[in-house]
C-alpha cells in the first residue's frame, strides 16, 4: 500500500499496524500517510478501530506489529511524551483546578521556560483560538465551546508536529458544533499543522477533512478526499455510511455495459463495475441522483434507464420531498426506491400517493457492486 520512499516524504506515516485486545482485533494491517499540513479524518462506526489508531499514533497505546513514522523518524516505540504531538480529547480533560491560562501553560512551564514567558505565550495562544482575556477563568466557568478551544490551545502550546483530535466536537450541542467546525478548520489551515481527527460523524468528516480514511472492523475501507468518497464509494458499506443510498438487486448478464433489472435491462458504465463474481449484483444510486419526470415525458438529457414507478408515499422535508417509489418493472424482491425531489418540482408534478411517475437512473451516477443484497 505504501512504499518506503513515499512514507519518508509523508509527514506522518503509519505502516501495517496491527493491534489486538485479547481475542478482539482492533486494527488489522492499517496503513496511511498524511502530508505536512494535511487534515486527515479517521471515520467509521464505533468499534471500527479509529480511536485505537489515533492512540497508537499518539503513543498512548503500542501496536502489536507495524511502525509509525513522524517526519521520517521511526517513533514506533516512543511514548507520547517523546513524540511531540498535541492531543485534544473528547472530554477535553482540562485540569479543573487550574485556570484557562494555567492549563495552556502547563506544558510550557515543564518545558523549561520562565513563568512569565509561559504566561505570555499562554495568552498569545488563547488569543489565537479566539478567546482573548479569559485566561483567569476556571474551566467550569467556560462554555463547552470555549473549553474545547482552551484544550486546543493547550495542545498547540508546544508547537507539536502532529495534532490529534479525538471526537473533538461530539460533546457540544448542534449549533456550536457547526460553528466550531469551520473555526477549527480555519485555525488548522492557518497553523499549517498536520492533523488527525477521529469522528463517527460523517458530516464532520466531509466538511473538515482534506482526506478521509473510512474504517470498519479494524480495516481501512477507503482512503480518499471527501468528494471522491461520496461520489465513488468503494464498497456498499462506504456508500451507505456517507449519505443515503438505494441498493437494488440486479443480474450480471455478462455484458460489462448492461445489467438485468427485473423485466428490463439498464445501461451502466464499464468503470462503475467493482470487481466481483458474476451472477447477482447490486445497483446503487443516491436518492438525490434519481431523476423524477412526469409519466410519458420525453427527456433528451436522459435517453436510457427510464423506469415506470408509482409513488408509495411522500414526506415533506422543507427544501425537498422524499419519495418512496414502487418500480413497476423491477424484480419481485425489489425494495422500494427512495428519491429526493425539490419541493418546487414536486409541486409542478402535483405528486400524491399512488401517482405514476418516471424514475430515471443517470448512467454516470449509477454504481454496481458484486454480490447479492
Amino acid at each position: 500500500m505504501t512504499s518506503g520512499r513515499e512514507a519518508q516524504n509523508a509527514h506522518l506515516s503509519v505502516w501495517g499496524v496491527c493491534k489486538n485486545f485479547g481475542d478482539f482485533t482492533a486494527l488489522d494491517d492499517v496503513s496511511f500517510n498524511a502530508a505536512k499540513g494535511e487534515m486527515l479524518c479517521l471515520l467509521g462506526p464505533s468499534g471500527c478501530g479509529k480511536t485505537t489508531a489515533l492512540r497508537i499514533v499518539a503513543g498512548l497505546e503500542f501496536q502489536d506489529a507495524g511502525r509509525v513514522f513522524i517526519n521520517g523518524d521511526d517513533v514506533s516505540m516512543r511514548p507520547v511524551s517523546k513524540r511531540n504531538i498535541g492531543i485534544v480529547f473528547q472530554s477535553y480533560a482540562l485540569f479543573p483546578n487550574l485556570t484557562a491560562a494555567q492549563n495552556v501553560a502547563y506544558g510550557l512551564v515543564s518545558s523549561g521556560r520562565g513563568r512569565a514567558r509561559s504566561r505570555e505565550r499562554a495568552n498569545e495562544l488563547l488569543a489565537l483560538v479566539g478567546l482573548p482575556g479569559i485566561g483567569g477563568k476556571y474551566p467550569a466557568q467556560l462554555s463547552g465551546g470555549q473549553q474545547q478551544r482552551v484544550a486546543l490551545a493547550r495542545a498547540m502550546a508546544l508547537s507539536p508536529e502532529i495534532l490529534l483530535l479525538d471526537e473533538p466536537l461530539s460533546a457540544l450541542d448542534a449549533q456550536v458544533r457547526i460553528h466550531l467546525r469551520s473555526e477549527i478548520k480555519k485555525l488548522q489551515r492557518e497553523l499549517g499543522v498536520t492533523t488527525i481527527m477521529v469522528t463517527h460523524d460523517q458530516e464532520e468528516g466531509l466538511t473538515m477533512a482534506d482526506r478521509i480514511l473510512l474504517m470498519r472492523d479494524g480495516k481501512v475501507i477507503q482512503d480518499a478526499p471527501p468528494d471522491k468518497l461520496y461520489d465513488q464509494p468503494a464498497t456498499p458499506f462506504a456508500a451507505s455510511f456517507l449519505g443515503s443510498m438505494n441498493f437494488l438487486p440486479a443480474l450480471d448478464v455478462g455484458d460489462p455495459k448492461r445489467v438485468g433489472f427485473g423485466r428490463v435491462s439498464l445501461a451502466v458504465l464499464k468503470s462503475a463495475w467493482k470487481k466481483g463474481d458474476p451472477g447477482t449484483c447490486q445497483l446503487a444510486i443516491r436518492p438525490e441522483d434519481v431523476v423524477i419526470r412526469a409519466p410519458g415525458a420525453q427527456d433528451v438529457t436522459y435517453a436510457g434507464n427510464v423506469l415506470e414507478a408509482r409513488v408509495a408515499s411522500l414526506e415533506f422535508r422543507g427544501p425537498l420531498y422524499r419519495l418512496t417509489l414502487r418500480l413497476v418493472d423491477g424484480p419481485d424482491d425489489c425494495p422500494p426506491l427512495i428519491a429526493d425531489v425539490s419541493a418546487r418540482l414536486a409541486g409542478r408534478l402535483d405528486l400524491s400517493d399512488g401517482a405514476a411517475v418516471q424514475a430515471i437512473f443517470p448512467v454516470e451516477l449509477l454504481h454496481v457492486y458484486a454480490g447479492g443484497l
Binding site: 511531540n84 485540569f95 487550574l98 506544558g107 466557568q141 497553523l191
Partner: protein, 596 residues
C-alpha cells in the same frame, strides 16, 4: 506562530536523544512504586497473617498438633460458648442498630426535617469515643451503683415513689447496648448514602399510577436500598462481632471470642490457643466482609447514570415526627456524652457528688496517665500523616499507573484484606511476626534472622498496626476520589512532556485534597480510640490512652478511666472542628473552580 514553531524545533533533537533511556527510567520508577506498595502490604498484611494461621496449628510448647486446638475449642463447652455468645450479641445488636440507623437515615434523606446538619453530626458522636467508654457510661447508668439502678440518687423515690430499676447490665445486655451504639454511625452512613442514591422519576411514576405511600415504600424505597441494607447488616455484624472494648468492660463473666483471645494470650500465655480462637474469630468476619464486598460491587453496577435526585417536599406531620425521632436519638447520644462527663467530674460516685477535676490527675492510678494520653496523641498524629501518604499513595499508584498490571492487581486485592481483619487478630499476628527472632524455612533448611525484630515494642509498630487496621476504608475513599478524575489527564500531561509527579502535585493531589483530609481525620480518630489493635503491642515504656482506660477499669479506677475517655473524646472533637474548618476553607477555594 511560524517563528514559534522554529524555536521549538531547536530543542527537539536534544529532547529526543536519550528518549529511550528516559522512557525506561520512568517505567522502572513507576514499577518501583508499585513494588514498594506490594512489599508494604506483603510484609504488614500477608506475612503476619500467614504466621498467625500457622501458629494456630502448634501447641504451647511449639510442637505441631494440626487442628487439635480447634477440636479442643469445639469440644469444650466453656470455649465453644464464646462463639455462640459472640454470634448472639452481634446479631441482637444489629437487630437494634439496623432499624434505628435506617429510620435516622430515612428522616435525613427523605423528609424535610429541620436541623439536618446538626443531626448528621450527632449521629457520628459514638465514633468519637473508644468502645470502652460505651461500656463505662452504661455502668454509670445501669450498673450496680448506676443512675437508673439507684433511682437517680434517690430523686426518683422522692418525686415519683419509684426506687431504681436494674436491667441486669453485666453480660449480654450491656454488650448488646454498647455494640448497637457503636454500630449506629456506620449503619446510618451506609444507609443514608443508599437512600440518597435514588431516582425521583420512579416516585413520580408511582404516584402518577396512584400507588399508596406504603406500596411505594415497599416496592420502590426498600428494593432501592436492599444492597445498602445488606451492607449495613454485615458492617454492623462485623463491628460487634470483633469489638473488644465493650465486652471487656461490661461483659462480666459472659465470654465472647474477643475477650477469650485476650484471656488466652495475656491471662494464660497460651499464644497458640489465642491464635486458634483468632482464626475462629477471623473466619466469620472474613466471610461477612467477602459477602459485603460482592454485594457492593453489584450495587455500584445498578445505579443509573442519569438519575434525577429525589428532593422531599414539605409534609408538616411527617417532618414533625421525623424531628421527634431524630431529636430523641440525638438526645440519647448527648445524655451518653453528658453522663460520661459528669461521672468523670463527680468526686466519689454516688456518695460525694461535688464536681472537680480530681480524676483527671492520673497520678494515683496505673495505666500511664498523661504519658499514655500524649503517646496516643503522637500515635494518632503519626498515623494520620503516614496513613494519608500510604492509603492515598497506594490508591494513586494502583489506580493511575498502567505499568505491571498483574502486580497492581495483587496489591489491590491485598489492600482490601485488612478490612476483614479484626484489630485483635492484627495485634496478635504482629506479636508473632515482629517478635520472632528469625524465620526458618525448613523445606530448604534456611534460617533468616528477622530484620524487623527491632520494631517490636516501638511507636513505629503501633503506627504501622493502625496504618494496616484502617487501610482499606481509606484506600477505598482515595480510590473513589481518584476515579472521579478524567483518565485522560495522564495522557494530556504526558503528551505535554510533563513528568507524572508534576501532574500529581499540580492537579491530582489538589483536586483530591478533600478526600485526603477525610482520610487523615479518619486515621486520627480511629487511632485515638482503638484498643484492640494496640493492646497486644504496647509496652510498659510506651503506654497508650485506650489501653490505660482498660487497665484502670481493671484496677477498679472507673472514674479516672472515664476521665481518660473524656480526654480522648475532647481531643477527637477538636480534631473534628479542625477538620471542619479545613474542609470549609477548602470548599471556598474549590467553589472558585466549580462556580460558573
Amino acid at each position: 506562530m511560524p517563528e514559534i514553531v522554529l524555536e521549538e524545533r531547536e530543542g527537539l533533537l536534544s529532547r529526543l536523544s536519550g528518549a529511550l533511556s528516559e522512557l525506561m527510567a520512568e517505567r522502572w520508577m513507576k514499577g518501583a512504586f508499585i513494588g514498594l506498595i506490594g512489599v508494604y502490604l506483603t510484609v504488614l498484611v500477608a506475612l503476619p497473617l500467614y504466621g498467625l494461621l500457622s501458629k494456630s496449628l502448634y501447641d504451647k510448647t511449639g510442637a505441631f498438633i494440626g487442628l487439635a486446638n480447634f477440636t479442643r475449642f469445639f469440644s469444650e463447652a466453656a470455649l465453644f460458648s464464646s462463639l455462640s455468645h459472640s454470634f448472639f450479641v452481634s446479631m441482637t445488636a444489629t437487630a437494634f442498630a439496623l432499624p434505628l440507623g435506617f429510620a435516622f437515615a430515612y428522616c435525613l434523606t427523605r423528609t424535610s426535617v429541620p436541623g439536618k446538619k446538626v443531626f448528621r453530626a450527632m449521629a457520628m458522636a459514638p465514633l468519637l469515643a473508644p468502645t470502652l467508654m460505651h461500656g463505662l457510661v452504661l455502668i454509670y447508668l445501669f450498673g450496680k451503683k448506676g443512675l437508673v439502678t439507684k433511682g437517680f440518687f434517690g430523686a426518683a423515690q422522692a418525686l415519683f415513689g419509684v426506687s431504681g430499676f436494674d436491667i441486669g447490665l453485666y453480660g449480654a445486655t450491656g454488650i448488646i447496648i454498647a455494640e448497637a451504639l457503636y454500630a449506629f454511625p456506620p449503619v446510618f452512613l451506609i444507609l443514608s448514602v443508599a437512600l440518597s442514591m435514588t431516582d425521583a422519576r420512579l416516585y413520580e411514576a408511582a404516584e402518577a399510577l396512584g400507588a399508596s405511600k406504603f406500596r411505594i415504600f415497599r416496592t420502590i424505597t426498600l428494593p432501592g436500598v436492599k444492597f445498602g441494607l445488606v451492607s449495613a447488616f454485615f458492617v454492623s455484624f462485623i463491628s460487634s462481632f470483633t469489638d473488644f472494648g465493650a465486652p471487656k468492660v461490661v461483659g462480666g463473666s459472659y465470654n465472647v471470642l474477643a475477650t477469650d483471645i485476650y484471656k488466652h494470650v495475656i491471662g494464660q500465655q497460651n499464644f497458640s490457643m489465642g491464635a486458634a480462637v483468632s482464626v475462629i474469630l477471623l473466619i466469620p468476619t472474613a466471610l461477612a466482609f467477602l459477602a459485603n464486598h460482592i454485594i457492593q460491587r453489584r450495587q455500584s453496577a445498578g445505579v443509573a447514570a442519569k438519575a434525577v435526585p429525589y428532593s422531599p417536599g414539605i409534609n408538616p406531620a411527617r417532618d414533625r415526627l421525623a424531628f421527634l425521632f431524630c431529636a430523641f436519638i440525638s438526645l440519647l447520644f448527648l445524655v451518653y456524652l453528658g453522663v460520661g462527663l459528669y461521672a468523670s467530674l463527680v468526686d466519689v460516685w454516688p456518695y460525694k457528688l461535688q464536681l472537680g477535676f480530681r480524676h483527671y490527675d492520673f497520678n494515683a492510678t496505673g495505666g500511664g496517665g498523661y504519658a499514655a494520653y500524649f503517646n496516643s496523641l503522637r500515635m494518632a498524629f503519626y498515623s494520620a500523616v503516614a496513613g494519608c501518604v500510604m492509603a492515598f499513595g497506594a490508591a494513586y499508584v494502583l489506580e493511575k499507573f498502567k505499568e505491571f498490571p498483574r502486580l497492581r492487581q495483587f496489591c489491590s486485592q491485598l489492600s482490601l484484606l485488612p478490612m476483614a481483619l479484626p484489630g485483635l487478630v492484627i495485634g496478635l499476628a504482629y506479636i508473632f511476626f515482629f517478635n520472632a527472632p528469625g524465620f526458618s524455612i525448613e523445606a530448604i533448611g534456611l534460617y533468616i534472622p528477622n530484620p524487623l525484630n527491632g520494631l517490636y515494642g516501638t511507636m513505629a509498630l503501633l503506627v504501622l498496626s493502625n496504618l494496616i487496621y484502617f487501610h482499606t476504608v481509606s484506600f477505598l475513599t482515595a480510590g473513589t476520589a481518584l476515579k472521579q478524575l478524567d483518565n485522560e489527564f495522564e495522557s494530556v500531561s504526558e503528551s505535554l512532556s510533563a513528568p507524572f509527579t508534576r501532574l500529581l502535585t499540580r492537579v491530582t493531589a489538589p483536586v483530591c485534597l478533600p478526600a485526603i483530609l477525610e482520610i487523615g481525620y479518619y486515621f486520627f480518630v480511629r487511632s485515638m480510640t482503638t484498643l484492640s489493635a494496640v493492646i497486644f503491642l504496647y509496652s510498659a515504656d510506651l503506654p497508650i490512652a485506650a489501653v490505660a482506660v482498660a487497665n484502670m477499669d481493671d484496677a477498679g479506677d472507673t472514674a479516672p478511666a472515664i476521665a481518660m475517655c473524656m480526654l480522648i473524646v475532647v481531643t477527637n472533637l477538636v480534631a473534628r472542628l479542625l477538620y471542619g474548618f479545613a474542609t470549609s476553607g477548602l470548599q471556598k477555594r474549590t467553589r472558585a473552580w466549580t462556580r460558573r
